[in-house]
Amino acid sequence: MISAFGAGLLFGVGLWLSGMANPRKVLDFLDITGSWDPSLLLVMGGAVLVTASTFRPLIRKKDLKFDKTAIDLPLVAGAAVFGIGWGIGGYCPGPAVTALSNLTVEPVVFVAAMIAGGLLAKILPPQQAGR
């Protein structure tokens, strides 16, 4: 699957170029009462500009189904918990994985804990966690 590798490579370069892979820059964005750095709005804006103009026809062509539409408790609680972890560490999953290339202990600990947290979500609630 060369394409999956290539997409990962391009995604990773985007993370580093944009500043997303630097947790300090992420926290400078989330810190709206400090010396706020709005750069990450442009990261999300640039990425969504591309996906918003291409995803819907592609999804139709691929005949992909997204069966979940409800705004339910797991969605809101999960997003809230994720945000707290993001705001503590400055890492969301993509940046944490590509930061393994830093060869420092911090991203390794973070990613290991993140995998453990994901497994915890699988056994924790009676209803099936999202994909």
Binding site: G12, P74, F82, G85, T98, T104
Partner: protein, 138 residues
């Protein structure tokens, strides 16, 4: 706003978007990193190879970036206990909520999903709150 990098951040964002389109077009998959990673450990073996290839690409991109563009960022004074706690919350929250910044953010917003819009609003809000507490209260 001393560190504002509009051009690099916009360009990087566009690359992230293009990579997501690439994965969708070529593999029929949504580029949600939390789901891809979790699936690598929790899915049946037959579904693992593309996930591994994508994540390997992510890590190799970092090595290439440090070799040719800029050294790896260093952070001092952030304890490994905090890193473990943050990682655990991110793993738990993204699997419970079914996505992260890429799955709900880049891809979910791109297909105009209301679920994703709600998720993004919630994790932005709690992220800002947590950062406020970490930087200005503790």
């Amino acid at each position: 706003m001393a560190n504002f990098t509009p051009v690099a951040s916009l360009a990087g964002g566009i690359l992230i978007g293009l990579a997501s389109v690439w994965l969708l077009a070529a593999n029929g998959r949504i580029a949600g990193i939390s789901g891809i990673l979790h699936g690598l450990v929790a899915q049946p073996p037959g579904d693992r190879f593309w996930r591994f290839a994508f994540l390997l690409g992510l890590v190799i991109a970092g090595f290439a970036w440090h070799a040719f563009v800029a050294p790896a960022p260093v952070r001092e004074g952030f304890g490994l206990g905090w890193a473990a706690a943050a990682g655990l919350l991110v793993g738990l929250g993204t699997r419970l909520g079914g996505g992260c910044t890429s799955g709900h953010g880049v891809c979910g917003l791109g297909r105009f999903s209301l679920r994703s819009l709600v998720a993004v609003a919630v994790f932005m809000a709690t992220g800002m709150a947590a950062t406020y507490v970490m930087r200005h209260v503790l």
